[in-house]
Symmetry: C2
Subunit: 99 residues, 2 copies
DNA sequence: TGAATATATGAACAAATATTCATAAAAGGT
DNA sequence: ACCTTTTATGAATATTTGTTCATATATTCA
């Protein structure tokens, strides 16, 4: 009847990740293209540190992939699910918000 | 290129709602059946006040419907989208978490 | 090797959010 | 009219979360 507590907790943590505009913007700007930290930082006009902290969270949940290329670290979306979830939100949530 | 700021903010607020175990549990226990506040409170073993505060948020975002029946207030899920989003999470997020 | 650049990270602080507690409001039963 | 039950709500508090600031680490280049 009730959902298993542990899964529930993971589920809420997961949604929570998408519940922050900084993280959404990061994910969105990585949607079609990998980018390095400074690039993201400049593009979104958010401090390097803040971006780095948020990337850490995204990494922790396997939403982004980390690849070191010389001095630079390049981040990209891990997997199509992430884009799917984003698009699901973009398409379906609008409708709910209107009513 | 970037998502419109206002939509972005609504989107994150929306995901945020699902990013709390209490609210997830409330939504989940209303999945197939309408219930009154005390019923939810007892079922989930969370204080009536906490439930009521959270229901207010769910109501604000039109995720649940409010119906007064005499002394009792009955809540139910507003719309199939909500269940869709929940199920989307339940089905797809598990996979992401594993990797 | 030393300077410059890119990124990560811990601690402090600020802001947002959830819960509790006390109480109010609304309805029903006596 | 009064007591009981159910729900809502404001204020206080506790907790969580995000950002900034200072600094560490790693890599390249001179």
């Amino acid at each position: 009847m009730e959902i298993n507590r542990e899964f529930l907790s993971k589920l809420s943590e997961f949604y929570k990740i998408f519940g922050d505009t900084t993280r959404l913007r990061i994910l969105y700007c990585l949607k079609d293209k990998e980018r390095c930290v400074n690039e993201i930082s400049e593009l979104l006009d958010i401090s390097q540190s803040a971006i780095s902290h948020q990337l850490k969270i995204l990494r922790l949940y396997n939403l982004v992939r980390y690849e070191k290329k010389g001095q630079v670290v390049v981040y990209s979306i891990t997997d199509l699910h992430v884009i799917g979830i984003l698009e699901y939100g973009i398409n379906h949530i609008g409708e709910l918000l209107i009513k």
